[in-house]
């Protein structure tokens, strides 16, 4: 990652964007380092897309300052910004061929035809669409259109590439392979990627760092493991991965102080009720309620003294469940203390 003194690729300082009475982005401050794969994660309407549009220049902030590579971009229209966008619906020009789409930015900047052609062929090769130059976008599949949109943005060698849920319209298999490809392309070209998604799995697997948005604010910024293992708030704990949220007496007994705690379901181990408990772990006794078979894992719902805990177990044994995993069986749960995360309450 870039050093502390390096100019960030994108910098938000107390930025707000209001639409009428709605605060789409509410006093947000953060930096994106040069060359970083940065994700903005959140539910729809959380302000992540508006932030992206603020960087692109399609929206202007109601207050606050945005800098791109140290330059204040207030009042700078999109066509004068050194950033490019991959749109959610790809936004390819339907009346142009794939090649003309990719070359569009170069054509606007009056790059000579021969160079244009050569660079677009290179770009199409990068996104594995060689030989598609003369096709029309309507003749391509969803995944291929997505690649054209990517090539069309990358050919301009922007300093920051903005991606607005680019994989949202693709089916699961294609999405997974595109995730790997996007990550590989980002490493290859070394451009800062700002990636908007509502898919927490995508954000965790691709990002160097991610920001979790809720109600126009950022709840947490950090590396995927920081955000997953140490969620700052109730919202983050619930939105990024599955979690057990505890408050009240049980929470106080496990955490040591009153407050709200989050425990990841895969961090809880199920033992027999009379099992010996290792040192330094919290224990809860309970009774198995339901078991849901998920293939690689099973989800076990367990009734405990003050509610219910979800446990995810790897199906290491395979075949029929072990005796103590039957519904109605008494079990003892153990949790290492470091996996009991205090979280702040969200609105």
């Amino acid at each position: 990652m870039a050093g502390a003194e390096a100019t960030p690729a994108v910098s938000f300082q107390e930025v707000s964007r209001r639409f009428g009475d709605v605060r789409a982005v509410d006093n947000v401050t953060f930096d994106i380092a040069d060359g970083e794969f940065f994700s903005m994660l959140g539910p729809s309407g959380s302000g992540k897309t508006t932030c992206l549009r603020l960087i692109a220049g399609f929206e202007q902030p109601s207050s606050g300052h945005i800098k791109v590579h140290g330059v204040n971009v207030e009042g700078v229209p999109p066509y004068e910004r050194d950033v490019n966008t991959v749109f959610q619906d790809y936004a390819l020009f339907p009346h142009m061929s794939v090649g003309e789409n990719v070359e569009y930015g170069l054509m606007i900047r009056k790059v000579p035809k021969a160079e244009r052609r050569q660079r677009s062929e290179e770009m199409l090769k990068l996104v594995k669409l060689d030989g598609m130059y003369a096709r029309k976008p309507s003749q391509l599949s969803g995944g291929q259109r997505q690649r054209v949109a990517l090539a069309r943005a990358l050919i301009n060698r922007p300093r920051v590439l903005l991606l607005d849920e680019p994989l949202g319209a693709l089916d699961l298999k294609l999405r997974e392979s595109m995730q790997n490809e996007l990550k590989a392309i980002q490493r290859q070209v070394g451009i800062t990627f700002v990636y908007v998604t509502h898919d927490q799995g995508e954000a965790l697997s691709m990002s160097d760092r991610l920001a979790v948005f809720n109600h126009g604010r950022i709840e947490q910024i950090g590396s995927p493991s920081e955000v997953y293992d140490h969620p700052a708030s109730q919202f983050v704990a619930g939105f990024v991965g599955q979690t057990n949220l505890l408050d009240g007496y049980l929470a106080q007994r496990l955490g040591g102080f009153p407050g709200m705690y989050a425990i990841r379901p895969e961090r809880i181990r199920i033992l027999t009720p009379d099992a010996e408990v290792p040192m330094g772990v919290a224990t809860i006794d309970g009774r198995v309620d339901t078991i849901t078979y998920l293939g690689a894992t099973s989800r076990v719902e367990i009734n405990v003294e003050e509610g219910r805990l979800t446990v995810i177990e790897q199906n290491l044994e395979g075949g029929t469940a072990v005796a103590e995993r039957r519904p109605g069986a008494n079990v003892r749960l153990i949790i290492e203390r470091r996996h009991i995360q205090p979280v702040s309450e969200s609105q």
Binding site: Y79, T85, Y104
Partner: protein, 326 residues
């Protein structure tokens, strides 16, 4: 699970068997039609297709056939015998070409003017107008279509007349010299606006303008906002975005609108007879030939002209993708 399945199986059979037993003849008919969609389509389409085939195409071919009949030299009565005399006269008469060229030039000018006026209005309606403004504009475009065509044409006669609203207003602004200069222009000018080609052109453009605006609006509505943003994102200034993206994508709409303005101008026989130089246009000529002149074969020959012109025009329009925008 097992018990539930065993119980539901016979029930399902029962209900399935009970349905047709209880049905009335009407229900039987409806299920028979449901099961034979081809028969239903046939029954629904036969009456309108018969109407189109007999009344429309039939009369068109009768018309065509009439142009191959001749007139008796002395009595002026139509002779129902095959002859190419009418067509020979049609092609041989220089007045024919006068009428055809005049009508075609008028139709082309009206179409170009309508496109030039309609595009900015349509673009404003689609991209910039708010909900309320858009409704007002839609109403403004549609409203004239709901009032009488004749009333509007006569209203224009008053507006354009020698002592009409335009000349009064020009005098008020001390611009009468400008109006006079316009009227003195050769060919398009005349003694007054209401008796010049310019007047005919103005009224034609006004009357057919909605038929240009609406298809262009429809075409512009179909250009996604993200495509326009993408163009700006890739460095294109608004003017470049308009030329490279918005206009090419809306062009089929312009062509679709031009089909209306062109064909309606080509065939109209009322406007040129009320406003203009009292020189014959195509529609008017047909009207006169079949009415006062009683020359049905020649009227038929003249009717074939706009059909041929429109045939060529539609073929070109189809190549330009106009029918995707209708």
């Amino acid at each position: 699970m097992v018990t539930l399945d065993a119980r539901s199986e016979p029930e399902r059979v029962n209900t399935a068997a009970a349905l047709p037993l209880k049905s009335s003849p009407l229900q039987r008919l409806s299920s028979a039609l449901y099961l034979r969609p081809a028969l239903l389509t046939f029954l629904l389409l036969t009456p309108p297709l018969l109407w189109l085939g007999v009344i429309y195409l039939g009369s068109l071919f009768t018309l065509l056939a009439h142009s191959f009949f001749g007139l008796d030299e002395f009595s002026g009565v139509m002779v129902r015998e095959f002859t190419v005399a009418t067509w020979a006269e049609f092609f041989g008469n220089p007045a024919t070409w006068d009428v055809v060229t005049r009508s075609a030039l008028m139709a082309i000018s009206v179409t170009l003017a309508a496109a030039l006026i309609a595009f900015p209005i349509a673009h404003y309606m689609v991209r910039y107008a708010g909900m309320r403004m858009k409704a007002v504009l839609y109403l403004g475009v549609m409203l004239p279509l709901w009032s009488s065509y004749l009333v509007r044409v006569y209203a224009w006669k008053l507006i354009l007349a020698k002592e009409g609203i335009v000349s009064w207003f020009a005098a008020l602004l001390h611009l009468d010299w400008l109006l006079d200069a316009v009227l003195e222009t050769p060919v398009v000018g005349g003694p007054s606006l209401s008796t010049s080609y310019l007047g005919t052109f103005i009224v034609f453009t006004y009357i057919w303008l909605p038929f240009m605006i609406l298809p262009v609006v429809a075409a512009l509505e179909r250009v996604p906002g993200s495509v326009i943003e993408a163009s700006g994102d890739l460095g294109a200034k608004p003017g470049q975005t308009f030329r490279k993206v918005i206009f090419p994508l809306a062009f089929p709409g312009v062509v679709a609108g031009s089909i209306f303005t062109f064909s309606l101008t080509l065939g109209d026989y009322i406007i040129p007879s009320i406003i203009g130089k009292s020189v014959p246009f195509l529609g008017e000529t047909v009207y006169r030939l079949q009415g006062t002149a009683g020359n049905i074969p020649m009227a038929a020959a003249f009717t074939v002209v706009p059909i041929v012109i429109m045939g060529i025009y539609l073929t070109l329009a189809k190549r330009l993708g106009a029918f995707d925008a209708l």
